[in-house]
């Protein structure tokens, strides 16, 4: 097959799967949360209430699409596009299975980190462009939260990079054939997971939204599909973080031989998504200054220690992964 057509095909399949998966996640999250909270959740429309997804989509498309007159119109429209654009673009470097990757970049990890930094502009700009106080506070919180958590999000991954000797995600997965990085890089995994949660601003790190304080935070003024894009962006972001954790620490598609690689990858990712939903049901929200101080006081030093120790061990024992 023509490689261009092949890439195009893979791209379309991934895009299609992701967008639908985000839709399904809406249902999954509501049902799982309901299960955890002794409720029923949406169970009326269709089998297991699955058609709620269709109903939600119809609803969100037909709501009045309102741009507040006091908002900065251009930025207001741009902001939700950024989040969807950056998360979807990040998926281009994620290897779903051998050969099923849109862009097998040799700096894939860097590309992912760069795009995740870009994604924050969405929240910050939405907060700013809304020209509303709740949105502004939400946007400010997001920027402070991310400038802090970005730092060690990258640092926490450097251990993996040292061990793998590469920034290419496919190679990082291949290197884990002997042992998943969760074992040597457990600390790195914890820090990355926390930073990733903060990145997706989901509970318990949903300070930019903080319903009981800021109503809806940075997207207070958004309606219709512009709000829907934040919503979908959040779910795809959640999928992305889960996929990255799996790729970097849990051996990506690697698994028992009888299980097809993409399925294996999907199952692992889904397990993390469920874990994040569980966290949302269980934990209260820290205060914003507490979140920042934990980041700087504990997580950053830990990430540095992890980096130094990994580096030292690699230096002592020689390159563990001769490429």
């Amino acid at each position: 097959m023509n490689p261009t057509v092949q890439t195009l095909l893979i791209t379309l399949v991934i895009l299609f799967t992701l967008l639908n998966f985000a839709g399904v996640l809406i249902w999954v999250e509501r049902r799982v949360l309901a299960l955890l909270q002794d409720r029923l959740g949406p169970n009326r429309a269709g089998p297991f209430g699955l058609f709620i997804i269709v109903a939600d989509i119809i609803k969100i498309f037909t709501k009045e699409d309102w741009v507040p007159p006091f908002a900065d119109r251009k930025l207001f429209i741009l902001a939700p596009a950024i989040i969807l654009f950056t998360v979807l673009l990040s998926f281009t470097v994620v290897p779903f299975a051998p050969g099923i990757v849109v862009l097998d970049l040799n700096v894939g990890l860097l590309f992912f980190l760069g795009l995740s930094s870009m994604g924050i502009y969405s929240t910050v700009l939405a907060g700013w462009a809304s020209n509303s106080k709740y949105a502004l506070i939400g946007g400010l919180r997001m920027s402070a939260q991310m400038f802090s958590y970005e730092v060690f999000m990258g640092l926490s991954l450097m251990g993996v990079v040292i061990l793998a000797g590469s920034l290419n995600l496919t190679q990082i997965v291949e290197v884990q054939r002997g042992m998943w990085f969760i074992i040597p890089q457990f600390l790195g995994f914890l820090i990355f997971m926390i930073a990733g949660l903060a990145e997706t601003h989901r509970m318990p790190f949903d300070l930019p939204e903080a319903e009981s304080e800021l109503v809806a935070g940075f997207h207070s003024e958004y309606s219709s599909m512009k709000f829907g894009m934040f919503f979908v962006g959040e779910y795809i972001g959640l999928t992305l973080i889960s996929a990255m954790i799996v790729t970097l620490f849990f051996g990506g598609w690697l698994g028992p031989a009888w299980l097809p690689a993409p399925i294996c990858f999907f199952l692992k990712t889904f397990a993390f998504i469920l874990f994040f939903i569980l966290l949302r049901a269980a934990l209260p929200r820290p205060r914003y200054d507490q979140l920042l101080s934990w980041g700087w006081k504990y997580l950053l030093p830990l990430a540095l220690i992890n980096l130094i120790v990994t580096g030292a061990i690699v230096l002592m024992t020689g390159n563990p992964q001769p490429n």
Partner: protein, 590 residues
């Protein structure tokens, strides 16, 4: 002639002795009341000096300003030998340790409705004086911000005056012409100066943030105006009155009996805990002794409602600091509880269950197994919630050292109930001055020591366990006997004999048609509500309706206390403070 039971000879009270010694010429009269609270009429000119003396110098010092309101006396028929006045302002003080109340009354003439403000003596007087201004049009000289508090700023008239209409049908048809519309809109304009806030300091320009009247974190319609420097709260001003329904005014037009359902709706989470102080006050006036079984039923229902209230508080408290799930578990348990309450009372939130002289009906068949099932079921659940909420690291980090105050501050601001006990003072009216037979029950008064949001939560959680203990005792020792007092003023009359003899039938008929005629007098019923001291002060002039019903609620004082404990914290802390305060807005606004 006053003829009710517990009239006390007040001249022996040591407070009155010392007051007479220091301010002999200021005392106009010592009035006798049915509730045994010393009531002294003071000349308007000297009230502030007397209050200052009582707070700081008297041998028995009254640290708490318990209540402050007024009475429009202009249409009152039977005043006995009280001093002449068009309006009477009353100050009720409480000496916490000895649970002694003192009521000071000040007569005012319509031509000169002015009193010195006592906000410099008690900061808590601020809102009370504003309420008196709003409701009666009595001004307080030296008050820092004498604006309307419950009614909108454009309101004409003072609602609790007797000449102000009580029903919409007594007023002309409502219309909103353009000029009035503009006027109303202009009144809504936010001007920080009117709220007592600066626009900027030397270093920065403040941001003003409206939380409410519609906001997911405020538990109802209230507006907090925040003066912010970054996310730090410089000042916060609660704007109450959105839930004001004029319960006190309604009291002046309902019969003694038909006012009971209205009390349910004051603190709508606590059901019979609202009925009780009201019927206690009326029973004092009427001189009714409530039979044992009715008292124990009352206690049991009160404690069931206390748990129900605390469960709602528990869930919303966790939700306010961002924990999504607990509220569902707690509401599920509350649902079980409301099922029991429904089986007993026929209604869930608004039971309308207590009656003058007893309770509405006897306990239904099988009530004991329902209640027993619940008291057996609940302790394990409470342990589970401890692990889920109270032991949660993040929740502790969010609520420890937030909104802390000392016992002295609490008393100064009139805080009672769990809010006071969280500061280390084990003061519970059920122990200190038992009513309705609480002295016969064994239970502890849980306390905590730091007085912060977390400690307030600790106290409430422990209180639920104590309430369960009390309910279990009710269950094991429920006395037999009548559920209504055998007294001509018990309403509705016990029905057993109505079909046999005409006298009882007539009394019953009059009792349910006109309503009972309660002997003249004044009395206050005070209980330990779910949120603090809850009391009804009723005045009767020997009629089928009360002359004045004053409702003193714990939420009002708690709400007034939110600004001083919030300053310097951040926005999320304010939500934690709101969550830990446990107020009901209908209880604030009445």
């Amino acid at each position: 002639m006053l003829k009710s039971g517990d009239q006390t000879s007040l001249s022996e009270s040591p407070v009155l002795e010392s007051l007479r010694g220091a301010f002999g010429e200021a005392i106009l009269k010592i009035q006798s009341t049915c509730d045994g609270i010393p009531t002294v009429w003071i000349r308007p000119g000297q009230i502030k000096a007397v209050l200052k003396y009582l707070k700081h110098e008297a041998p028995q010092r009254f640290a708490m300003l318990y209540d402050l309101s007024a009475i429009d006396e202009r249409t009152r028929q039977n005043r006995n030998d009280q001093p002449e006045s068009d309006f009477t302002v009353f100050y009720q003080l409480l000496q916490v340790e000895s649970v002694q109340h003192l009521r000071l009354k000040v007569p005012l003439e319509q031509s000169n409705l002015l009193l010195p403000s006592i906000t410099d003596l008690w900061p808590a007087a601020d809102w009370y004086e504003r309420e008196v201004w709003d409701m009666f049009g009595i001004r307080f000289d030296g008050h820092p911000n004498l604006r309307r508090i419950l009614m909108p700023p454009t309101w004409k008239g003072h609602p609790l005056r007797k000449d102000h209409p009580a029903r919409a049908t007594e007023m002309g048809p409502f219309s909103m012409p353009t000029d009035r519309h503009i006027e109303e809109e202009e009144a809504l304009q936010f001007k920080p100066e009117e709220w007592g806030m600066e626009r900027e300091s030397d270093e920065s320009e403040f941001m003003f943030l409206n939380i409410g009247p519609q906001h997911p974190g405020t538990h109802g319609v209230i507006r907090f105006v925040l003066q912010l420097d970054g996310e730090e709260i410089v000042d916060v001003v609660p704007d109450i009155g959105y839930h004001h329904r004029g319960a006190e005014k309604m009291g002046e037009r309902q019969s003694w009996h038909t006012f009971i359902p209205y009390t349910d709706r004051i603190d709508y989470l606590s059901g019979v805990l609202n009925n009780l102080p009201y019927v206690m006050a009326v029973e004092k006036l009427a001189g009714i002794q409530v039979p044992q079984r009715a008292q124990v039923i009352r206690v049991m229902l009160c404690e069931l409602f206390r748990i129900s209230n605390h469960l709602v508080w528990y869930g919303t408290y966790a939700q306010d600091v961002g924990q999504l799930s607990p509220v569902f578990y707690m509401f599920t348990d509350r649902e079980k509880l409301l099922g029991i309450i429904e089986a007993i009372c026929g209604a869930r939130m608004h039971p309308n269950w207590l009656r003058i002289g007893g309770v509405a009906a006897d306990l239904p068949k099988g009530w004991d197994s329902l209640v027993r099932e619940f008291v057996d079921y609940m302790p394990a659940k409470l342990r589970e919630y401890d692990a889920m909420v109270m032991d949660n690291y993040l929740l502790k980090a969010r609520t420890r050292d937030i909104g802390a105050y000392t016992t002295e501050e609490a008393i100064e601001w009139g805080i009672t109930g769990p809010g006071l006990r969280a500061t280390g003072m084990g003061w519970d009216l059920r122990k200190e001055k038992p009513y309705s037979g609480y002295e016969q029950f064994e239970f502890e008064v849980p306390i905590a020591h730091k007085g912060d949001c977390y400690d307030r939560a600790v106290v409430r959680v422990a209180e639920m366990r104590e309430s369960l203990k009390i309910i279990r005792q009710c269950l094991d020792y429920m006395p037999t006997g009548p559920i209504k007092a055998d007294h001509p003023l018990t309403t509705p009359q016990p029905k057993e004999r109505t079909m046999q003899d005409i006298e009882t039938l007539i009394t019953h008929f009059l009792g349910v048609s006109w309503g009972p005629v309660i002997p003249e007098g004044e009395a206050m019923g005070c209980i330990e509500g779910s949120k603090g001291l809850n009391s009804y002060y009723v005045i009767s002039e020997k009629s089928t309706i009360p002359y004045r019903v004053r409702i003193r609620t714990p939420s009002f004082t708690a709400m007034q206390f939110i600004p001083p404990i919030s300053r310097g914290h951040m926005i999320p802390d304010l939500l934690a403070i709101i969550g830990a305060t446990d107020f009901v807005l209908a209880d604030v606004d009445r």
